[in-house]
């Protein structure tokens, strides 16, 4: 997934914290016009990866380039194009919501006032509320507003929907899809709520113990894995099913549901017909694919 048009280029990046290796030889490119989902268990290295992109973390080895500049040396010109929502929701506690918006706004020349008003209305933000008093969900909504209203070329979202209610999540995801319409932008989103992000992402990066174990287009991933329902038309299913690359199999007398990788539909139908079965190919959700890959 490497290319010259990449906004972010990470090359063999390793990050060692005191007790653990958070990133292990990670190579990744973020292209314009894509929404990339970064998936992984807690401690897999998702936040660490995002923090390297904005230069807040420095790698022990390897190189991170953002907008053509060494991430550790990003200046106002590059940072003006980056929106970042961090999972902790750390904001300026003694300001009101309105004060913080006004403060952040002055740093950006391309602040979209209409979008700001839309966020305030949709997210039901009270401008006179002190940030200290906001709930985690409200803080997250405000963080999203602050990161998106200047329409950044690169939007990094670290668990942005974890504290949002279902309606706010749906609105937020709609906005993401609207935002990506101009092809010169890129969005990177890390989340545990896979059912939500699968609606918007077009590329998947799965991390495990600091390593990238899967990096491909989401459609490609969906084509690669499938869940197949096999129903025997002649009594019990045979003891051994003739399909290749079965990852998981749940069977019950005349029926079985198998998960396969790298299948071909025509070959599958022919094999099923030989053992007197009919098959139904069921699409797999991102959650199911993730569980298969991570194991």
């Amino acid at each position: 997934m490497n290319g010259p048009d990449a906004i972010v280029q990470m090359r063999e990046v390793t990050k060692q914290f005191e007790w653990s290796k958070a990133l292990d030889n990670v190579t990744l490119d973020i292209q314009r016009g894509t929404i990339t989902g970064i998936l992984g268990a807690n401690g897999a290295g998702k936040s660490t990866l995002l923090r390297h992109i904005i230069g807040m973390y420095l790698p022990n080895s390897g190189k991170v380039t953002t907008f053509g500049c060494d991430a550790g040396k990003l200046g106002p010109a590059e940072l003006e194009q980056i929106g970042y929502v961090h999972q902790e929701g750390k904001l300026v506690d003694f300001m009101t919501v309105g004060q913080l918006i006004r403060y952040v706004k002055v740093f950006y020349s391309r602040w979209n006032y209409g979008l700001e008003q839309r966020f305030i209305k949709d997210f039901e933000l009270n401008l006179s509320e002190l940030i200290k008093n906001l709930s985690p969900g409200q803080r997250q909504r405000l963080s999203v507003l602050l990161a998106m209203c200047f329409e950044p070329a690169l939007l990094l979202l670290d668990e942005p929907v974890s504290a949002l209610d279902p309606i706010a999540r749906a609105r937020f995801l709609d906005l993401l899809l609207e935002m990506i319409q101009p092809q010169d932008r890129a969005i990177v989103i890390s989340s545990h709520i896979l059912s939500d992000i699968e609606k918007v992402i077009d590329r998947v990066v799965i991390m495990k113990e600091g390593k990238i174990i899967c990096d491909c287009e989401f459609d490609e991933l969906r084509e690669k894995y499938a869940k197949i329902k096999i129903t025997s038309l002649r009594g019990e299913l045979p003891e051994t099913l003739p399909f290749k690359q079965i990852i998981e199999c749940k069977r019950n007398g005349t029926e079985a549901i198998i998960t396969v990788m790298g299948y071909e539909s025509e070959q599958l139908l022919a094999q099923a017909a030989r053992i007197g079965c009919e098959v139904e190919i069921l699409p797999m959700t991102l959650d199911e694919i993730y569980r298969v890959i991570v194991g």
């Binding site: 807040m56 106002p76 929106g83 300026v92 300001m95 006004r102 002055v106 740093f107 008093n133």
Partner: protein
């Protein structure tokens, strides 16, 4: 006991926790070692009254907030505050610790020279009571009221003063001069605990958020006091809008650091005026006290500092901008605090012309105006504090401890330096060194370290 052990494991499971207690013990042993060679009369007469406070109160001063923060940390922890018997166990632990620390803090007085036995009892009782008051005001959270800690401490102090006057009276009681250390101690402790209610509130809010309920409406008026005033916001937003792109992060850093304090300028000046009278009647060698007080005040305000170095907001700029932003914030803060000192010093100079000398219980009290050196010292103290706070960003208690440690030589040596022939020159060199220290620390952190701390969870 297992619940208590599990809870305490959180507090004392870290190296830092043990380091604090090791240091407290070291200071206590030092106090015990120094006490037999100290003559309290000499100490009082030479004006070094603060030394006694240090000697007796430092263990409690350090120990209490550590235990207090630990206590809150355990009770505020989502998975632990509902564990059966944990809260009771923690309280019991805090009470026993408080008693032991108060007892330990009073023991050096048994060995100090220059006290007759009735007086010695008074001092030991005073020390024990005040340390106990300090300890509980600092360490026990008050979920029901913000003012409870302050009120309990004030009550303790008043009780001690009244009790000693009634029971012992006359010569054995507190003479005005000898009373200063205790009043001073109370003042300092009030400053230390001033920051505590907000922590309590945070725990309350954390509990409610964990329980899924919204913030209690009743606490809004109290929390609402700590917010940026419209005029202050207007001033900075106009500056930020007009300045060039390269200057925005400088003004932004100053705004975040100073905005909240400028919004409370009336309260700050009122407090400074009260302190002006307090310090005005202190002995002439009280410069060290001013240093100590400023150190502790800055420490108290430290909670509201928003230095750009570790900010997760990208508007603070890249690594280079964060160095400049930190220096700008420190300069802005020093100038603001320095200005307060200059104004208060000016007022004290004028006041000295008006206030006559008066005699109180046989003691002649003279109001001495504050020296302009104080403002100069502040300009040196602020960068040191900022530098230490940056370096120990993950361990605010260690920051407090290091600040206290540094203030000891400052208190001991500064009066001598100021009165030396090249006083101004020495002070200038010290101030320059302090700023060089801040530049070095902020530069090394911004250039070489991770700017988001792994422990950032709030």
């Amino acid at each position: 006991m297992r619940e208590l052990k599990a809870g305490l494991g959180l507090v004392f499971g870290t190296m830092a926790g043990w380091l604090y207690f090791f240091l407290v013990l070291c200071i206590w042993f030092l106090s015990m070692f120094v006490a037999p060679y100290s003559n309290i009369r000499d100490i009082l007469e030479t004006g070094f009254t603060w030394f006694i406070i240090y000697l007796m109160f430092l263990p409690a001063w350090i120990g209490a907030p550590i235990l207090g923060v630990g206590y809150r940390k355990v009770l505020g922890c989502g998975g632990l505050f509902c564990v059966p018997r944990l809260e009771k166990g923690m309280k019991r632990f805090a009470i026993i610790s408080g008693f032991l620390i108060a007892l330990m803090s009073s023991l050096p007085l048994l060995l100090t020279k220059g006290l007759s036995w009735p007086e010695r009892y008074v001092y030991i009782a005073l020390s024990f009571t005040l340390v106990t008051a300090l300890f509980f005001a600092c360490s026990i959270p008050s979920p029901s009221s913000n003012k409870r800690n302050l009120v309990s401490l004030m009550t303790w102090v008043l009780w001690v003063v009244i009790f000693v006057r009634l029971v012992f009276g006359g010569e054995a009681g507190i003479k005005p001069l000898e009373g200063w250390p205790w009043l001073l101690a109370a003042g300092i402790f009030l400053c230390v605990i001033h920051s505590q209610p907000y922590r309590d509130k945070q725990i309350k809010i954390a509990h409610r958020q964990l329980a899924g309920s919204s913030t209690d409406i009743n606490e809004q008026p109290q929390l609402a006091k700590l917010r940026i005033a419209s005029a202050v916001e207007q001033f900075f937003i106009v500056r930020l809008s007009r300045c060039s792109k390269n200057q925005k992060h400088l003004w932004g850093a100053i705004y975040l650091c100073l905005g909240i304090h400028l919004s409370r300028w009336k309260q700050i000046f009122s407090l400074a005026l009260v302190l002006m009278f307090f310090f005005g009647f202190m002995p002439e060698e009280s410069t060290g006290l001013i240093v100590l007080f400023v150190m502790m005040s800055i420490l108290g305000w430290g909670q509201t500092f928003r230095l750009p170095v570790h900010s997760q907001m990208l508007v603070q700029g890249g690594r280079s901008q964060r160095i400049c932003g930190t220096i700008a914030a420190a300069i802005g803060f020093s100038l603001a605090v320095g200005l307060v000192f200059v104004v208060i010093t000016g007022v004290s100079q004028l006041t000295a012309l008006i206030i006559p000398n008066f005699v109180f219980r046989g003691q002649q009290l003279t109001f001495s105006p504050l020296s302009m050196y104080s403002a100069y010292i502040v300009i040196g103290i602020v960068p040191v504090f900022f530098g230490i706070a940056l370096y120990f960003e993950r361990a605010p208690l260690l920051t407090a401890f290091v600040v206290i440690l540094i203030s000891i030589p400052a208190i001991v040596f500064l009066p001598g330096i100021i009165s030396a022939v090249f006083g101004w020159l020495s002070i200038t060199l010290i101030v320059i060194s302090c700023w060089a220290f801040l530049i070095f620390v902020s530069r090394s952190i911004c250039r070489e370290k991770d700017l988001i701390l792994q422990t950032d969870k709030s």
